[in-house]
């Protein structure tokens, strides 16, 4: 596996049409760690992730991958270095789990390199990492929400990129399925990948992320280790909610209790 790669944004401004969403933002993903991007609805966290993955061209500023402007990288090369799971990922109907995961190898394949030993191993490992061995021949439509989400993540794992960006990978999943996804994310980071997740649940972000980026109105209001940056004042600033923070007796990460509207 390639050494972890550095992804950073410099003076980045992104907009939807004429509406500026993010202005003059700087951020860097710590290599080999899990970064969670959190903030209230409409704060620009998904837009930032889209910008980091080049789905969104910047108005000004740049996103640098190991110092190179990602706008200048060929599409396939970028796809070999950075994988993305967007929020509304849709696939053509009738695909099996295995079919979907194999599509993750596309950036590595070509007309005369359609299925190499590398491809086979990468897919087998992705299937195993996501615990989908028993489901590989099932149609995607026949899976539960959590299984389907793991299949999509497995597709991005099969891409074998050092960087993995996931947009709300656990929304619409129940507690058990959320846990499956977070444990998978932790394992991927332990194997040396750099991950960034957009999350709307601050509690999960505290629990599973190594690094937290808190956003509001298109700006970063705080970033750092969750235990250090998450304060009662920050929660109020982000969500307009008063709370009491206590350390989790099991992990030491902050837990939000006694929530009330300010």
């Amino acid at each position: 596996m390639n050494a972890p790669q550095r992804l950073q944004a410099e003076a980045l401004s992104l907009s939807h049409g004429r509406t500026a969403i993010i202005e003059d933002l700087a951020v860097e993903l710590p290599p080999g760690r899990v970064t969670a991007i959190v903030g209230p609805n409409g704060c620009g966290k998904s837009t930032l992730l889209a910008g980091l993955a080049r789905l969104h061209a910047p108005d000004s500023g740049a996103v640098l991958l190991d110092g190179q402007d990602i706008q200048r990288l060929p599409a396939r090369e970028l796809a070999r270095r950075l994988a993305l799971l967007p929020q509304e990922a849709t696939a053509p109907e009738g695909l099996t789990v295995g079919d979907l995961i194999r599509f993750g190898r596309q950036p590595h394949q070509g007309w005369l390199r359609q299925w190499s030993g590398d491809d086979q191993r990468a897919v087998e490992e992705a299937v195993a990492a996501a615990g989908l061995e028993a489901l590989a021949d099932r149609p995607l439509e026949a899976l539960s929400g959590g299984q389907r989400q793991r299949a999509w993540i497995a597709m991005t794992i099969a891409q074998q990129t050092p960087l993995l960006l996931l947009d709300e990978p656990t929304s619409a999943l129940d507690m058990g399925h959320q846990l499956e996804v977070f444990e998978l994310v932790k394992r991927l980071a332990a194997d040396g990948r750099t991950l960034a997740l957009v999350l709307h649940d601050l509690a999960s972000a505290c629990r599973y992320a190594d690094h937290l980026v808190a956003m509001r109105d298109g700006r970063i209001v705080a970033q750092g280790a969750p235990a250090e940056v998450v304060t009662e004042a920050l929660v109020h600033e982000l969500y307009g909610v008063r709370c009491t923070l206590v350390p989790d007796p099991a992990t030491g990460t902050p837990i939000l209790t006694d929530l009330r509207r300010a």
Partner: protein, 369 residues
């Protein structure tokens, strides 16, 4: 999970490949052909479906050569095609039926391939080049050449110009936003309506003889195929099919949502422009031969998709199915009301209309994506 298990180093993997002792198993449903560092995957089902359609096309083509007002036995038809047998059959097959069969193959394949490309681009199985106004543009220009000049001055060339004009206007109207298929379809429907109205207006203002002369261009027929246009179409298809195959890998990813396709390394903007351009070109060349037989662009890919797996986009199967539909429809048009001939465009519309309704009303609407 150990590091080495999850992510083998690329160098180590290469080393294994170089050893050549490695056995790589193809994914389920594929054959793998390997020679050194080069390897191809062939989807079994796609190959079987293509061979099946090819067989049906051969059978339909033989029937096409045999049947008509003068019925020939398959042996006689074959002999006539070789230039043997009696002169009348020879004339019938070589001068009349075979050139027309060739035109049916080419137009059917081109229209269905163009339809498959357009449907993949728009992620909508109802999107055909006909629906986005290209057919109507071609018709309007061809009719204008007949009506306006009194003589039919190169209607096929003008049909080409018309198709290109309609596509360019649709392009112009639809751009400004992103190149997404949906906006393009809406713009195309508007452009098509305008050109349709122009055709009607032209026909309403001329005498009956001129209107009769222009009539084939308004319905689609293989009766009055211009030889040059057939040759141009043959060249266009000979180039267009490999180009479509070269786009196949990107096309199969373009069926996913945009962000997924981009994440997997598809340069969407460029690929979409290429797909669109190829679809417009194939349609224009086919319409210049046969007039607007748009339904083939709907029926051909639909047959191909229902037979194929959803792992890829069935380009070859669509082209073969389109050729098959065109041959059968023209054969039916020649036979049903003989000695009167029904234009192939009317036959495909009569069959295609109910087909469309069936697709829309089928309860298990499997692949509208």
């Amino acid at each position: 999970m150990s590091d080495t298990l999850l992510m083998p180093s690329r160098a180590a993997a290469r080393g294994l490949d170089a050893g050549a002792a490695e056995r790589v198993a193809p994914p389920p449903g594929y054959w793998r052909l390997a020679r050194g560092e080069r390897h191809l995957l062939i989807e079994r089902r796609a190959l079987i479906v293509s061979l099946l359609l090819l067989g049906l096309l051969a059978a339909a083509s033989l029937a096409y050569l045999c049947l008509g007002q003068q019925v020939l036995s398959p042996a006689d038809a074959w002999a006539a095609l070789q230039g043997e047998g009696d002169p009348l059959s020879g004339f019938l097959v070589q001068e009349l039926r075979f050139p027309r069969l060739l035109a049916a193959w080419l137009t059917g394949a081109a229209l269905a391939l163009a339809g498959c490309l357009m449907q993949t681009l728009a992620r909508n199985r109802l999107a055909t080049p006909g629906i986005i106004g290209i057919d109507n543009g071609a018709t309007a220009f061809a009719v204008a050449s007949i009506v306006g000049l009194g003589v039919s001055l190169a209607p096929p060339a003008l049909a080409l110009v018309g198709a290109a004009t309609a596509a360019a206007i649709t392009f112009g109207v639809a751009s400004g936003g992103d190149t997404r298929g949906y906006r393009f379809i809406v713009a195309g429907i508007g452009v098509g309506a305008v050109f349709g109205a122009v055709t009607q207006l032209l026909l309403a203002r001329v005498d009956i003889d001129t209107a009769n002369q222009a009539y084939p261009w308004t319905v689609g027929t293989l009766n009055a195929r211009p030889g040059d246009a057939v040759a141009v179409l043959a060249v266009g298809l000979a180039l267009g099919w490999p180009l479509a195959m070269a786009l196949a890998r990107s096309l199969s990813l373009m069926r996913f949502s945009d962000a997924v396709a981009r994440g997997l390394g598809v340069g969407l903007r460029r690929r979409r422009a290429q797909t669109l351009g190829l679809s417009v070109l194939l349609t224009a060349l086919a319409v210049a031969v046969a007039g607007p037989v748009g339904m083939v662009g709907l029926i051909g890919p639909e047959i191909a998709r229902s037979l194929s797996s959803s792992r890829g986009v069935p380009l070859t199967a669509s082209a073969l199915a389109g050729a098959l539909v065109m041959v059968l429809a023209d054969l039916a048009g020649r036979l049903l009301l003989a000695p009167i001939e029904l234009p192939v465009g009317i036959v495909t519309a009569v069959v295609g209309g109910p087909w469309l309704l069936w697709i829309l009303m089928r309860p298990a609407n499997r692949r509208v994506s």
